[in-house]
Each structure stands twice: as structure tokens, then as C-alpha cells.
Amino acid sequence: MELSGGEIIVRCLKDEGVEYIFGYPGGAVLHLYDAIFQQDDVQHILVRHEQAATHAADAYARATGKPGVVLVTSGPGATNAVTGIATAYMDSIPMVVISGQVPTAVIGSDAFQEVDMVGITRPCVKHNFLVKRTEDIAETMKKAFYVATTGRPGPVVVDIPKDITDPGYKIPYHYPETIHMRSYNPAVMGHKGQIKKAVGLLLQAKRPIIYAGGGVILGEACEELREITRLLGFPITNTLMGLGSFPATDKQFVGMLGMHGTYEANLAMHESDVILAVGARFDDRVTGKIAEFCPYAKIIHIDVDPASISKTVMVDVPIVGQVKPVLQQMIDLIQDSKMRPSEDALSAWWSQIDNWRSIDCLAYDRNSEIIKPQYVIEQLYQVTQGDAYITSDVGQHQMFAAQFYPFDKPRRWINSGGLGTMGFGLPAAIGVKLAFPDADVACITGEASIQMCIQELATALQYDAPVKIINLNNRYMGMVRQWQEFNYSGRYSHSYMDTIPDFVKLAESYGHVGIRIEKPGEVKEAIEQAFAMKDRTVFLDFMTDREENVYPMIEAGKAHHDMKLRVAPSAKTERELA
């Protein structure tokens, strides 16, 4: 069977089991789009802006564990995709981005819609390729999927000059079943000696904590994480990216840690003597001030990426390997061992943690006459029974979602953690809904974020991907305003917009349903109404408290024990808690 370059690419996608490609056509990829037109195996989703294509594909990957696939044209198509590529890179999401390029003969001549895509994306991809011969396409595609999905996953760009997809040039098609790259051998098993050492530390710990991140979800190790946590009886905290890796409603879960983490999670980290860090990367939003980070703790760190270990925080027991087999080995060792962590020490530690918990650091004014954003999330949780896929944009609403929607399952919480990309939420929701058409999908957003990819309301209609948009509309860029309130004496420099569209009408003009909610009493009913409309995208525009803040907060440069709380504990309580 002889195929053209364009047909080869589409055929490779089919052979990789790709369901959807998210893309936008243009001059350099016309041959490829013609090949897409002539088949039904891979469905193309036409977005309204290339950034959205990358976010939708990225979220598809986050929700399913399968790589997301993007197709964009050269030049502006390619540069528009860069934000989404960087978003996926920061959160280690497997994605393959095919970008069109000008014909090989004119590369480097500043041709129409030419941009050095390999150069531009180099710092924000796991790897990238410029393919110069039709004969190299199939093998390069195989490499792209292999690199994107193995080891620490990440986005891979394949730049395809127009001439190598010429329908007039056909060659035999062969897709390699496996690929070997001599320069790329990601670690699998951890070092046995190190694992043994780690287990020894865990069994002797008196004030231990498990700190688990997105790597546990990416590495499909949530069951092992649950097992080891229950086996040891230790408290566990999650990073923003790790939420859902351990059931948030479990009593061993002490909440998210870091800048907007819970009082109990941050203090438990600060006071701990042994930390088991699993698939987490000691991000600055997690650690706070490095010099005062967990001063009493011995740290065990499991990560598939050796460069993540001792990058910002020096660790005592590094274990390079996939989290799943490493955790399994640890479980086996613990089960074989006669030793168990000291029950007395653990029960004293838990009563300390329960004391911290008792201050109820997430409390807010539940009797408010204005809609509190936290209340909306709580009601969303009630209505969806905690079982929806939640995507979010970036800002206060993202933190409220992380704090007030406890995730019991992995891959349900879809947000841009590392790069913090506004505009992520809506296209992400579409990507998730396409992957799981029968599931409830909600996008928690704000009036500023949603406007960064609002055009995707059209995509949701065209591809019948009905999602629910929970817009927490406070008429401010809430997080920017919060920092300006705390650090700039309330000088709200450009953190509000004088003109905000009527989102109800906007939703209607895109063929959807829009509802504005202005009173707390209407919140639950509106959410119920929205989810009852199974086949409609519903835009819920909640008029929320303008100046609500996210608490607790560790301000930039401060340590875990230096949290700003909504209500500071009295001196007496502080003494009792200590």
C-alpha cells in the first residue's frame, strides 16, 4: 500500500489508536487536511483558536491518560499553540503536536507564515522534530508518541514541511511496532537499597507525612498510594496537581498543601520528621521559603525524573523510578517486615493534627447575603455528588475549587497548575466531555479567565460537547486584586474591567443557555437546573462577593508555619495548638 505524506500522518494516528485530533487548518497543512477529509477513523475537532486546540487535547490526555493530539498550521497557527504546549510541559502531560511548516526549499527564507517552530518550542517541549523527508514521517511519529508517553511525560512537537505531505508523492507505508532510541531510556525500577532505606525511615517515623503530587496520577499509582497510606496510617497531603490521587474525603487526608493549602497540611509538613514525597516536585508554591522548609524532616523522594530530585530542596533518600513499581516494592517490604510505626507516636501526631484541623481554616461567612464563591463550589459538589469532571481556569476560583470540591478519584480535577494559564478551562472542558460524553463536566472559571478562550463556546455546540460553565463573576481579576489588597495597599491597578459582557446573552448568541444568579438562595437550584439539561451547554453567571479572599495564604517568600488566616487563632488557642 502506497501513501502520501499526508495520508501517512493520518494513518500513523489511526495506528496509535488516536480518537480525536484538535486543530485548525491553514496553508501549510492543506494536504494533511485533505487526507483527514478522506477517512473516518480519526475525528478532527475544529476549534476557534489554536491555543484552545492544545488545551482541549491536553485535558483529554489528563482525563484519559492517553496522549492528546493537536494539528496546527505553520506561522501564527504554530505560535498560537505555544501557550498550550508550555501548559502541558509544565504539568508533564503527554501530547503530540503536529505543526505545518513551509516547504523545505524555502525554510529559512522568511517565507509567508514561516516561523522556526522547533526553535520557538525548544524550551517548552520534551522533544521536537523537524521532518525533512516523507520516508521519515512514520518513524518520527512513532518516536513522538513514545517520547511523549514514557518516562516523565510531556509534549512533543513534530514540524512537517508542506512538500513532504504532497499527495503526488506516495511511498510504501510501514508503522514500526516498537522503537528503540539509544539516547532515551527512562528509568523504571527504583534502586532496591534506597527503597529499603526509605522503608526503614518510614517505620521509625514519629511525625510522618506523605506528600503526593501529579506524578502519582500520571504514573497510574493511585491504588498503590492508597494502600501504602492505609498500611502506614500516616497523614497524607496532595499538591494542586495531585488532588484526587488519594480520596479527599478520607480521614487520613489533611487537604492540599502550599500557598493556599490547609492549616493542618502546612503545619504537619513543617513539624514532620519524615516526609515521603511521591511524584511531586517541590514547586515554589508548595515549599514557600526554601530555607525554612520542613526543618525537622528527613525527606524521601520518589520521582521518575532524576532532575526533579534535589532540584530545589535537598532530599535524604532519592529514589529514581516509576512511582507505581516503587510504591509496590515499598508495600511489599513493609508487609514482610515485623516492624510497624510506633502506635503511641502516631496517635500523638494525629491528635496534634486534629487540633490544627479544629480551627477550621477554610471557614467562610455562610450567612452572607451576597453569593460567596466557596458556597457555589460546595453546592456544585452537592449537586454532582462529587462525581463530576471539573476543569478550571486560573485564579481565585481555581483555589476555591481545589479547596471546596473534594476529589475522591484521580483524573477528575483538570487544571493548569504549573504554568497557570488563564483560558485553559473551557477548551479543557470540551476535551474532557468528548472523551467521556456521558459524564458531567463543569468548568469553574471567572469573568476574566473565561474571556481568554470564550470563542470555544462555538466548538462546544458544533461537536455536541455540552459542558456547564460555573462563572464566579466578581468583576475583578480576583487573585491579582487579592495580592494588590495585601501588598499594594489596595491600589487595584488594572485588575478590573470596565466593560464585562452580558454572559447570558453571550451564551445565547452561541446557541447555549445562560442563567444569571444573584442570590445565595438561587445557587443550588440553578446548578440543578443546569445539570438537568443534559444535552445543553449552560453558562451559569454567579454574581459573587467582589472582595472575597482565598485563605489560608502563605505569602510569597514565607514559610509553612507563617500562614495568613481569615481569622487568626487567639493567643490562647495558639498555645493549646502548639
Partner: protein
């Protein structure tokens, strides 16, 4: 501390820019960088001199290893090794200075590889400090041009960096 990192990397377009880009993006410094294909034309050998404390050097080697095109690397400074640098110096000469420059060249065991009525080109190899010493021994006014390759190196003994 000064480190000399020797890298085997796929001899592909853009491989060099991945290494250079990594250093600028992460704020590491490069003192010098040399690169050329090895006896296996599909591989290049890169020698990179950098400075940093142990923590920084550990990160540099990890981040380099993470690049998909990097096959293997070693930090030569971790063991006994030999370093050599090639230098070409074009020196302005006068009737009075020619003999002195020739004599200095002999002391440093250089080679004069180009001669005109008013200039010499000296070729010299050796550890970088020897080349520095030669430069310092010349009259600064007489130096027309200095071209240095940057150090390259190899470990002592039987073991080597190969596939």
C-alpha cells in the same frame, strides 16, 4: 568550582542549540564549548566548561542527561584527566622582535605556521593556563588576533566515554 563536562550527543541538526538553550534558560554559565563528530559520524562529542557549586553541577548534568539527544555524559573533573586547548595567535613582528618571538615560541613548544615580513602565526596546544602564560609573555601591542578552541579533554586510563 570549574567542571569539564564531556557529552556524547546525536549528531543531528539542532542538537547544539538544545544544549546551549538549556544553559541560557536555566541560567547556567558556559565558559567554553567545543563540538565535532566522533569516529562514529552519527555521534558528536561536545566538551563544555562550566562553573558552579556541587548542587548546580548536579543539576546541569541531570538536565543535560534529560535532553533526548544526549546519549551519555561524564564530568571529567571528577577523575584524573588530560585537558588540551588549541590556540592560533597572529603576532605583529618587527625586525627587532622577530627573534624574541621565535625564542618564546620555542620555549612554549609552539609552531610557527605562517610567516610574512611583518607577522607570524603561532600554533600552540596545551592546558589552558599554558596558553594564557604564552599570551602574557607577548608584548600586548604585538598581538593581532587570538583564536582559541576552548579546552577539550579525555580521561586517563583504559576507560572511555563511548556507546
Amino acid at each position: 568550582m570549574r567542571h569539564i563536562i564531556s557529552i556524547l550527543i546525536e549528531n543531528e541538526a539542532g542538537a547544539l542549540s538544545r544544549v546551549a538553550g538549556l544553559f541560557s534558560a536555566r541560567g547556567y554559565n558556559i565558559e567554553s564549548l567545543t563540538v565535532a563528530p566522533t569516529e562514529d559520524p552519527s555521534l558528536s562529542r561536545m566538551t563544555l566548561v562550566t562553573r558552579g557549586n556541587d548542587h548546580v553541577i548536579e543539576q546541569i548534568t541531570k538536565q543535560l542527561n534529560k535532553l533526548i539527544d544526549v546519549v551519555k555524559l561524564i564530568d571529567l573533573a571528577e577523575a584524573v584527566h588530560i585537558e588540551r586547548e588549541l590556540m592560533l595567535v597572529k603576532i605583529h613582528t618587527t625586525e627587532n622582535s622577530r627573534a624574541e618571538v621565535k625564542r618564546l615560541n620555542d620555549i612554549f613548544r609552539g609552531k610557527i605556521i605562517d610567516v610574512t615580513a611583518t607577522s607570524y602565526v603561532v600554533e600552540m596546544t596545551g592546558p589552558s593556563d599554558k596558553l594564557d602564560a604564552f599570551i602574557h609573555s607577548l608584548d600586548p601591542e604585538s598581538i593581532i588576533e587570538v583564536v582559541r578552541s576552548g579546552p577539550t579533554g579525555i580521561s586517563r586510563g583504559e576507560k572511555g566515554l563511548h556507546l
